[in-house]
């Protein structure tokens, strides 16, 4: 069956901002889909609010709508574009839920409206509605855990009486397990059910017999419209049931299933996809297996491409999203060829001759107050994947890929914290799933605690524990030898088990470089194998490689000049999809310019690790050893050393810059990078160039910090060097706070963690500029000294809120032309002084008419994709060419660099924060970045663009109801205008007495005066304080501006309550003011939609 000709245009729904549970894997899948649909000749219309994605590049669709992913806005897009079909299965849960809402409104999937392709509404409902799904599974004879569906707490309590505790509670229509939990006691049960009902958009939870401790598996299934079904990959979770699969260490293929069991599971997966009715595309079916009886039950099914599909694609080389898109337009699997072999069809099941391990990365350190315990609700912010020939090799590679200061399964400085624990303490610890657990288990095994006992506590399959034990035993063997006495065979054995040079260096107490030279002297070098979907049965045409230590390497030589682009590793807060965007753009631009592009990265969620993004892909950890190995292998294979780009993948590659051979680095040299990172050198440079900085200094210990602070006066901003996302950055108001902050950093430093204090990594102590406007600039300088200003962004939140958590606007809205001029000139001065070749990002604080430089980073910044989309200038493409020697003038002539678009639009970027995942966390913004993603709003005025950005970020701007306002003294005068604006829109105001008094005195109407939470009476009347009002659902919006320190307790309680009850909170006056203007705009003139291509029209 060839492709369908009855549809010509397709609306692809993206997944919006990066949030926990829905990350850049959907950029990967959406990008694949857009590319393939366009190449098939369809008109592609894309809707996605996330500017940091590759898919929203104007080149990837005919019409790209960077608009909020809400039913209202999608409806407007449908009205305007009249697509023949809507494809909702490649944009995660967001797209699926949007499709269902639009279907309910009668706007898609019914006669006279666009057809839903990929999965129809009934299939989506069958898979997503827990009750329907269970019924369907029982109908086809598959086992499911005993359960019931509840919509209220009393219903839930009736069910639990029947099936008994412990139970697992899962809300319907959620992503990443939000609101899901396990209850062992009636108290826990009540709490989890209430939370779950609130998390479900249809207030529905499934209550199910707990199968915690069972083995967990996933199968990635594809089906075409001819009913051909194939399994792409099996995945086994190392963590047993009870830990969300997104938070589990997982391995592919399944390791401990016999063929008999596997085939039974495969049959069940096919029966499931057929019954649910996913006609075309990919689905993911999850199973639990009782480890002692082998009983198999179906847990759930995702009728769409998922995070696991991205992992399965990277693990096998089979491009699930691309094929799913082709199947959605009518092709059958046997009509599509396997890209990797070119000769065989896609209608087969990949078989792999290596082992893939994925390990999540968490960010609990950024959310004080969270337990750090893993459960059925996903909390990780990113993941690293590693490929090795064996589980041990892959596990250790994955652990060092995480960039959490660990080199593998212990055998590194990080293991020292376990030394003080007793065996009993360790066993208790491994019974609780946490990010540390894998290392604690390693330590238990090192202490010779038996596998049986360890398994009893942690529920890992004994096979995995034995594999880990073999690593521990190898370490003991290595410890009894030294660098001089190890034979080549012994070296190979250690490396085949994934031991890093850094682990051996630590074990033998010598420098890593000594280990490396001893190893190379014996000729122990990695071989690079290919990922080929077929275990070498057919020859692979796609150079997708991983390292191992065996006989034969499969790298092909190139005759072209080659460039290695170092990626950004696992997503984390502060370093995510934006940097992947940069790496991908560089690869595209350099490939177009005739270079051989080589990508090196270990993040399975990204576009950069798609096998056809670059000419070659190395799926490897981004450590010095692994990077040097690839550089060496490429040099040997091609006879010429490749250039290395370190400036696009964020802090990860930048931290390697000074340790890589200087001559290889493309663009800004490592000396300049060091000057920008080293506070003393940087200050000297500013002084020499007469550039104003906030007063401050560098401290290597607490006393130095106190001395500086006394000199410059509190409040001061303390921040470690060589970090990103403001890790451990704090504003402190007195000496006690300063001493505490320094102590925290000192501890982190001794553990080798990010944001730690050490002699080489001092702490910066600056005067904190209150009420300053923060400004960010991205620019490019070429080797000839021409500087191109990419964009000047004015932050909406005042200085003190991390730039990554702040909204910002292009062009600036309040800065005078003179200030903007001064800023641009300063950027040029700095770029020249640092001899930047490529991108630079400079941050400023503007106080009145004074412009201070906060910092400069001679690398791609988080805002580059946003700037490129706001201005229509492909900044990274230009910068990557510049890094390899092109001048801006030359690129203008080529046509790659054009003028900024002259439209009158305003672009606003807003941060998206993950607070809804972390109950009990204060949502006030601060200098430590905590957002996971961003959205963009574009319109003809700041207020409208800002409002769109708010909608896109999921903030509701209500049109009626009660708004709770609580302002600090400094914000009270500015608050008057905000409150009057709210009142003019018909909203009611509630306020605490102090705020209420001030507002009333200044002509505002306060409907309700509430007492302070901290003064809560023991016997109180109804709805006495704000927390109670919020919990009772009376409040539609909270405006609460915290004042640095002191009166925090009240505000914190209010913000936490609002967070727990999913009420939007605005914590800065500037944002509140912008929001109110947006609401007025919304009231006055309905929003319209416009594509990026139209905004960019010159």
């Amino acid at each position: 069956m060839p492709k369908r000709n009855d549809i010509r245009s397709i609306l692809v729904l993206g997944s919006g901002p990066i949030v926990i549970g829905q990350a850049c894997e959907f950029d990967y899948s959406g990008t694949q889909a857009c590319r393939v649909l366009r190449s098939e000749g369809y008109r592609v219309i894309l809707a996605n609010s996330n500017p940091a994605t590759i898919m929203t590049d104007p080149d990837f669709a005919d019409r790209t709508y960077i608009e909020p992913l809400t039913p209202d806005f999608i409806e407007k897009i449908i009205e305007r574009e009249k697509p023949d079909a809507v494809l909702p299965t490649l944009g995660g849960q967001t797209a699926l839920n949007l499709a269902m809402e639009l279907f309910a409104r009668g706007k898609v999937g019914v006669p006279g409206t666009p057809e839903l392709i990929g999965a129809n509404a009934e299939a989506i409902a069958t898979a997503e509605d827990r009750g329907k799904f269970k019924e369907a599974m029982i109908e086809i004879g598959l086992s499911v855990p005993r359960s019931g569906i509840a919509h209220t707490l009393p219903e839930a309590q009736k069910i639990v009486k029947e099936i008994g505790l412990p139970v697992i509670i899962r809300p319907a229509y959620i992503l990443g397990g939000r609101g899901t939990g396990i209850a062992h006691t009636p108290e826990e049960f009540k709490a989890v059910v209430i939370n779950g009902l609130a998390a479900s958009p249809i207030s529905e939870v499934l209550i199910e017999t707990s199968i915690v401790g069972w083995k967990e598996y996933e199968l990635e299934v594809m089906r075409d419209r001819n009913d051909n079904c194939v399994i792409i990959c099996s995945i086994e979770n190392v963590d047993a049931m009870g830990v969300h699969t997104g938070d589990s260490i997982t391995v592919a293929p399944a390791m401990t299933l016999s063929d008999v069991e596997y085939q039974k599971m495969r049959d069940a997966a096919f029966a499931c996809i057929r019954r649910v009715g996913v006609e075309t595309g990919g689905s993911n079916v999850q199973f639990a297996v009782n480890p002692t009886t082998g009983e198999q039950v179906v847990i759930e099914m995702n009728p769409r491409v998922s995070r696991s599909s991205a992992l399965a694609s990277k693990a096998t080389g089979f491009p699930i999203a691309k094929i799913a898109a082709k199947l959605a337009v009518g092709y059958t699997l046997d009509e599509i060829s396997n890209d990797i072999t070119k000769k065989t069809p896609a209608s087969f099941e990949p078989t792999i001759d290596y082992v893939v391990v994925k390990i999540p990365r968490w960010a609990f350190e950024k959310f004080p107050g969270t337990s750090g315990v893993l459960g059925t609700q996903m909390q990780s912010v990113g993941e690293a994947m590693a490929i090795g020939r064996t589980f041990t090799e892959s596990l250790q590679k994955a652990l060092r890929s995480l960039e959490i200061g660990r080199f593998g399964l212990n055998c590194d400085p990080g293991e020292e914290i376990y030394m003080s624990s007793t065996d009993e303490e360790l066993l208790e610890q491994i019974a609780i799933p946490t990010p540390e657990r894998i290392f604690q288990i390693g330590e238990c095994l090192r202490r010779k605690i038996s596998i049986e006992i360890v398994a009893e506590y942690c529920k890992f399959d004994p096979w995995f524990l034995d594999q880990m034990l073999s690593i521990v035993e190898e370490r003991e063997f290595l410890a009894s030898h030294d660098v001089a006495s190890l034979t080549k065979i012994e070296w190979l054995r250690a490396k085949r088990m994934g031991f890093a040079d850094a682990q051996l260096a630590w074990l033998w107490k010598i420098a890593e470089s000594e280990v490396r030279s001893a190893r190379l002297a014996l000729g122990v070098r990695p071989t690079y194998k290919a990922v080929d979907t077929c275990s070498a049965e057919f020859s692979a045409q796609t150079p997708y490689h991983y390292s191992t230590y065996e006989d034969e390497s499969e790298i092909h030589a190139t005759t072209k000049e080659s460039v290695i682009i170092l990626g950004s590793g696992p997503n984390r807060i502060g370093q995510g999809i934006e940097f992947d965007y940069c790496c991908v753009h560089a690869s595209f631009a350099l490939r177009d310019a005739g270079y051989e592009t080589i990508m090196l990265n270990c993040n399975p969620e990204t576009v950069s690790t798609d096998y056809d993004t670059s000419d070659k892909l190395y799926f490897e950890p981004l450590t010095l050893e692994d990077v040097l190995n690839v550089v060496e292998a490429e040099t040997v294979s091609s006879g010429v050393a490749p250039k290395v780009i370190v400036g696009l993948g964020g802090q990860t590659p930048l931290n390697l810059a000074t340790r890589l051979p200087a001559g290889l680095i493309a663009g800004t040299n490592s000396e300049s990078i060091d000057i920008a990172e080293d506070r003393e050198k940087w200050s000297a440079l500013c002084e020499a160039n007469a550039i104003a900085q906030p007063p401050g200094g560098t401290a290597r210990n607490v006393d130095q910090a106190v001395e500086i602070a006394n000199k410059i006066n509190y409040p001061v901003l303390v921040r470690p060097s060589y970090v990103l996302g403001g890790r451990a950055m704090q504003i402190v108001h007195d000496e006690t706070q300063l001493r505490n902050a320094m102590q925290e950093m000192d501890q982190a430093g001794s553990l080798g963690r990010e944001g730690g204090l050490s002699a080489e990594r001092p702490v910066l102590v600056d005067r904190f500029l209150e009420d300053a406007i923060e400004v960010d600039v991205d620019a490019i300088r070429d080797a000839g000294g021409e500087v191109l200003i990419g964009g000047v962004m004015e932050h909406v939140e005042q200085a003190g809120v991390h730039s990554g958590d702040s909204a910002c606007t292009i062009p600036p809205v309040t800065l005078s032309p003179r200030i903007i001029d001064e800023i641009e000139n300063t950027v040029k001065k700095i770029a020249n002084a640092l001899n930047v070749i490529g991108l630079i990002n400079v941050q400023f604080a503007v106080v009145g008419s004074t412009v201070y430089v906060i910092e400069a980073n001679p690398r791609a910044s988080r805002t580059v994709p946003f700037v490129a989309k706001a201005t229509g200038v492909p900044l990274v493409k230009v910068a990557s060419r510049v890094m390899l020697g092109a001048s801006l003038g030359q690129l203008r002539q080529e046509g790659l660099l054009s003028e900024r678009v002259s439209g009158r639009h305003i672009s606003v970027k807003e941060a998206v924060l993950p607070f809804n995942r972390f109950a009990g966390v204060d949502t006030a913004l601060g200098p430590e970045m905590r957002s996971t993603g961003e959205v963009m709003g574009i319109d003809d005025s700041f207020a409208r663009a800002f409002a769109k950005a708010q909608f896109a970020a999921g903030t509701t701007l209500p049109e009626s109801g009660l708004v709770f306002v609580s302002l600090n003294d400094r914000d009270k005068s500015g608050g008057v205008e905000v409150v009057k604006g709210l009142s003019s829109l018909g909203l009611q105001i509630a306020a605490t007495s102090g705020t209420a008094k001030y507002l009333t005195e200044h002509g505002c109407v306060v409907t309700r005066v509430v007492s302070k939470f901290s003064e809560r009476k023991t016997v109180h009347t109804n709805f006495d304080d704000a927390v109670e009002l919020i919990e009772a659902g009376e409040i539609v919006l909270v405006i609460n501006t915290p004042r640095g320190y002191g009166t925090r307790s009240d505000g914190e309680a209010i913000r936490k309550a609002a967070n727990n009850c999913r009420v939007s909170v605005v914590t800065t006056l500037s944002a509140a003011s912008a929001a109110v203007h947006g609401m007025i705009e919304q009231h006055n003139r309905p929003f319209t939609v416009k594509s990026l291509q139209e905004f960019h029209a010159r």
Partner: protein
């Protein structure tokens, strides 16, 4: 800690050398030097090593598993495809030190020792697979013996082409399996237990030696005749094609799998040829030409039916989508059909089990 590793070598007939360590029979420190020899092939399945090792069709061959971890889930008596291991040896990247599965009753290492089969681990199986893929299945030898002895053994080893290995694997006496309504006579050229179990779901199966004469088969008055899988070169199985030809003339429904398919083709006067490295895996896409759907199939064959040689005598029903070779046929002048692949699975996918239903339908229609 102490390590008891016994180094071993693998040598191919082209001189290629691989270093590894001994596993299975003859791997202990006190064992005399071992040499295992045979035709080296590779299997790309992710699971099912026990079924593969006990499949009589592997007689004469050394099996390389491309999946690096082998032995993880141990072995289980119920999963054997015959009472012994017919393969000459096993080559793996990594043998599990510990097995883990609720069904398991033994470790693979101990299973190999019990069946007196040697293996070699620690091999760069990907390099070996690439080599076999490019040069074709090749004789070779491995073991703990000296390199020179292994080289001699590899050089003198003959492949499976031109060899009749049926005598090694067929039953010497007839026996009965199952108690189903229909009566099926199954020629044992090396029949797998899973095939017997599939047939037993609807039939009482009389398993007869490979050399059984047509008259003896007909004396049992069967409802259907089954031709099993088996090892070696089909053109060397003298006598069977003539017997099959005779039985085809009776109108009794006949179903053949793998070697059975090849022998049926030879009975029609067709030809077979040797594939470069064969099909050994559980992921081969096969198109059913009647329904135009794709089945993912379990395969294990080195020889293949030349579809052109059948001309007007049979209709091609299935083809392999990887290399377009013949995978199945329906006879035009007789009540018979056959497939090259393994619809019974064991190991592998169950997509094609409907073929047993077709056999039943033919028997019931008569």
């Amino acid at each position: 800690m102490t390590r008891n590793i016994r180094p071993a070598l693998l040598v191919l007939q082209d001189g290629s050398l691989f270093e590894g360590e001994a596993i299975g029979a003859g791997s202990s420190e006190i064992s005399a030097p071992v040499i295992a020899r045979g035709e080296v092939v590779f299997h790309t399945g992710l699971s099912g090593y026990q079924e593969i090792l006990t499949d009589p069709s592997y007689a004469g061959q050394i099996i390389t598993f491309t999946t690096p971890h082998i032995g993880n889930y141990g072995t289980t008596a119920a999963d054997s495809e015959s009472s012994k291991v017919f393969a000459r040896g096993v080559i793996v990247r990594e043998l599990a030190r510990r097995r883990s599965n609720w069904r398991s009753d033994d470790s693979l290492d101990s299973f190999l020792k019990r069946h007196e089969v040697s293996g070699i681990a620690g091999i760069d199986t990907r390099r070996l697979t690439r080599l076999l893929r490019d040069s074709g299945a090749m004789p070779g030898a491995f073991g703990t013996a000296d390199e020179s002895d292994l080289r001699k053994a590899a050089a003198s080893e003959k492949g499976t082409a031109g060899r009749n290995l049926i005598a090694q694997v067929t039953t010497t006496k007839s026996y009965v399996h199952g108690a189903g309504k229909l009566k099926v006579v199954a020629f044992d050229f090396g029949i797998k237990t899973t095939i017997l179990n599939c047939l037993a779901e609807f039939a009482t199966v009389h398993i007869v030696p490979a050399t059984t004469l047509a008259a003896d088969v007909l004396a049992l008055s069967p409802d259907g005749i089954f031709l099993s899988n088996g090892p070696g070169d089909p053109e060397m199985v003298h006598g069977a094609p003539a017997t099959i030809r005779e039985l085809l003339g009776t109108g009794v429904p006949m179903f053949g799998i793998c070697l059975g398919h090849q022998l049926m083709a030879l009975a029609l006067g067709g030809k077979t040829f040797k594939l470069p490295f064969g099909h050994h895996g559980a992921n081969h896409p096969v198109r059913n030409l009647a329904t135009n759907t794709v089945e993912i199939t379990s395969q294990n064959h080195n020889f293949c039916v030349d579809a052109d040689s059948l001309a007007t005598k049979a209709e091609v029903t299935h083809i392999n989508l990887n290399d377009n070779t013949n995978e199945g046929m329906r006879l035009l002048g007789a009540n018979a059909f056959s497939v090259q692949y393994h619809p019974e699975a064991g190991p592998g996918p169950h997509d094609s089990r409907y073929l047993f239903g077709e056999f039943v339908a033919r028997m019931e229609a008569r």
